[in-house]
């Protein structure tokens, strides 16, 4: 008897109506469930913030030597030690982060834009265009990446812009293949047929109809590309074919550290640790995004 009113109450609540969750909200919720990825994202944001705010948060001015502390080990005054000129490594690492991180982000952006364009055109138009573009992609994938990147850097001359271009233009092949395969399935869907039927131009169909639906795997790949680009740039600078001052990157700091492996190992430890941390965080965030963006994945599926 007493159950009657209780059973009735929920039926009249407005929440009982079906609520539609937006895709972005769903992705956000699923990402938050991925604790490791969230932690990695927080670490990544903190490092980015520190790099952006380097001029304000660094304890010393860049290039201002502490003559009382040359090759000093890490201490309270110099959290990461100093180099042979007495320059605070922590300050250099903060400023180096600006160079390394921005090169990583912009190079990935170039790769995604170029790869996205090539993949879209190839997948949408098919036939001869597709065959030609995919052969070019094959060529890109058959080239020994590191060797070619070093060669190009030697030839063009290493500047931040040229490095971004070189890395971006040698990393677009995977994004291109991913977007192409998305387009191959999506272009046969009804909504694309409908768009074509009402006479929408191809460019508009590609950009407005298909591309937004093909984005999810591309975003995941773009995240991973940022990490790869950071490593690639640091390898170039480490080997002496990359950036030089005033553009100090983490790779350049490691290049300089090679002469002091006996006397000042901290010079080699900290810049590399930053690269490692950032790339690890980027990879974990990428993993979290993959699970969050994929509507078919239930839980972590590794």
């Amino acid at each position: 008897m007493s159950l009657m009113p209780r059973r009735e109450a929920p039926l009249h609540r407005p929440q009982a109506e079906p609520r539609f969750e937006s895709y972005a909200h769903l992705v956000w919720r699923r990402f938050l469930r991925h604790r490791v990825a969230v932690a990695a994202a927080v670490v990544l944001l903190l490092i980015m913030l520190a790099a952006i705010l380097a001029p304000w948060v660094s304890p010393y001015q860049l290039g201002q030597p502490d003559l009382a502390a040359m090759l000093a080990p890490p201490s309270l005054h110099h959290p990461m030690g100093t180099d042979d000129l007495g320059i605070d490594l922590f300050t250099e690492v903060l400023f180096g982060g600006r160079v390394s991180l921005s090169i990583g982000v912009f190079a990935a952006l170039v790769a995604v834009v170029v790869g996205g364009a090539i993949g879209s055109i190839s997948g949408y138009f098919g036939s001869l265009v597709d065959a030609l573009l995919m052969r070019i992609t094959d060529v890109g994938l058959s080239v020994p990446l590191l060797f070619v990147v070093l060669l190009l850097s030697l030839l063009i001359g290493p500047t931040p812009v040229s490095i971004v271009t070189i890395i971006g233009l040698t990393s677009w092949m995977y994004p291109a293949r991913i977007v192409r395969s998305q387009f191959l399935t999506l272009k046969k869907r009804d909504f694309v047929e409908a768009a074509r039927a009402v006479g929408m131009p191809s460019t508009r169909i590609i950009l407005r109809e298909i591309f937004p639906n093909a984005m999810a795997p591309l975003i995941v790949n773009a995240t991973l590309l940022v990490g790869q680009a950071i490593i690639l740039e640091s390898v170039m600078s480490f080997l002496g074919a990359g950036l030089t001052p005033p553009n100090i990157s983490w790779g350049y700091l490691l290049n300089q550290a090679q002469s002091f492996t006996t006397s000042a190992p901290w010079l080699a430890i900290f810049p590399g640790l930053m690269i490692f941390l950032v790339v690890l965080a980027v990879n974990l965030v990428g993993d979290g995004l993959r699970d969050a963006l994929d509507p078919t994945s239930s839980q972590r599926s590794h």
């Binding site: 094959d138 060529v139 058959s142 070093l150 080699a268 590399g272 980027v282 590794h302």
Partner: protein
């Protein structure tokens, strides 16, 4: 099968041709060009530069130069090093055994360990060991090889003096296998680490796909021993996708070798390449890049062919 191999090889020809064309014209279109290093030498005159240009055939048209270069390249002639005046291909081949020694030993370690770790991880899914391997492999493919090398060098050579700080053998000493191995261990492990991290993941996920299939349950139901089920019935089928990745990674090892050789002063092809980069020694650079491109294309074909050989379901007609 034979027809398939021939067709795959035929498909590779235009790719290699495009690569060579790309590399050749890229280099000549750049400012400075092949003579960049002579231009800035003290005491060089215009007449001398012109003579060098003629000597190297750089005064001819680009197409002529390319056709000339390609014709020779096919026969293994990449011209003479600008710095050492030796045949570029010869210099490269001289360094190749050292690189191969490093790469092959790394590759063997990688294959062996990735199977052990991957299978263990899959069989004991979600166990402590599985989590540990997962974490370490995440570290593995997030860690820049050159930094790992630098850290290993600082720790084990510079501070602990357990291993030599570089080179292939003790200078001046007579050949001894122990000495060679002692020099090989650090660079080999550093080079293996990255590929090991990714390949053990491939083995794991491939094993996980297989392990829950009906025929595995049938084998168990028949009373086949667990070890035999895992290592014979399951692994054989899990091998398929992994072999492709491993063959491709073998080609990738050249890039890793470039870094490892530089750090451990290993007298291989990678170090030769870096030297050539720092000296703008174009014939050597072209020889190395062309050689590696061919290797990668061939590795692609090999991976496809192996896949077909291992999987009887695939028909090449």
């Amino acid at each position: 099968m034979g027809v398939f191999v021939v067709r795959r090889l035929a498909q590779a020809v235009p790719v290699i041709f495009l690569i060579s064309l790309l590399l050749f014209f890229m280099m000549h279109a750049m400012p400075g060009g092949p003579l960049a290093m002579y231009v800035h030498q003290p005491g060089i005159t215009k007449a001398m530069l012109e003579q060098i240009r003629i000597d190297y055939g750089l005064n001819q048209g680009l197409w002529t130069q390319y056709v000339d270069w390609l014709g020779k390249a096919v026969r293994g002639d990449f011209g003479y090093s600008y710095v050492y005046a030796q045949p570029a291909a010869g210099m490269m081949l001289q360094r190749l055994p050292a690189t191969l020694e490093l790469m092959l030993s790394s590759f063997l370690i990688t294959v062996l360990c990735s199977f052990l770790l991957g299978v263990y991880s899959a069989v004991r899914q979600y166990s402590f060991g599985d989590y540990l391997i997962t974490v370490v492999s995440y570290f593995g493919f997030s860690m820049p090889t050159f930094w790992l090398g630098l850290m290993v060098l600082i720790l084990f050579s510079v501070h602990l003096h357990w291993f030599p700080a570089g080179g292939m053998a003790t200078a001046g000493a007579a050949f001894s296998l122990g000495d060679r191995l002692w020099h090989l261990i650090l660079p080999m492990l550093v080079l293996a680490f990255y590929t090991l991290a990714s390949e053990s993941r491939y083995v794991r996920s491939s094993m996980l796909d297989v392990i829950h299939q009906d025929y595995i349950r049938t084998a168990r139901a028949k009373g086949v021993g667990e070890g035999r089920v895992i290592w014979r019935h399951a692994l054989r089928n899990a091998l398929l996708p992994v072999v492709t990745v491993m063959v491709m990674d073998a080609a990738y090892l050249f890039g890793g070798a470039l870094i490892t050789e530089t750090i451990f002063s290993w007298p291989g092809m990678g170090r030769l390449f870096i030297q050539a980069i720092l000296q703008s020694d174009y014939p050597v650079l072209m020889a190395v890049v062309s050689f590696l491109s061919v290797v990668i294309v061939l590795a692609n074909i090999l991976a496809d062919v192996l896949y077909g050989l291992l999987d009887p379901r695939i028909q090449y007609s």
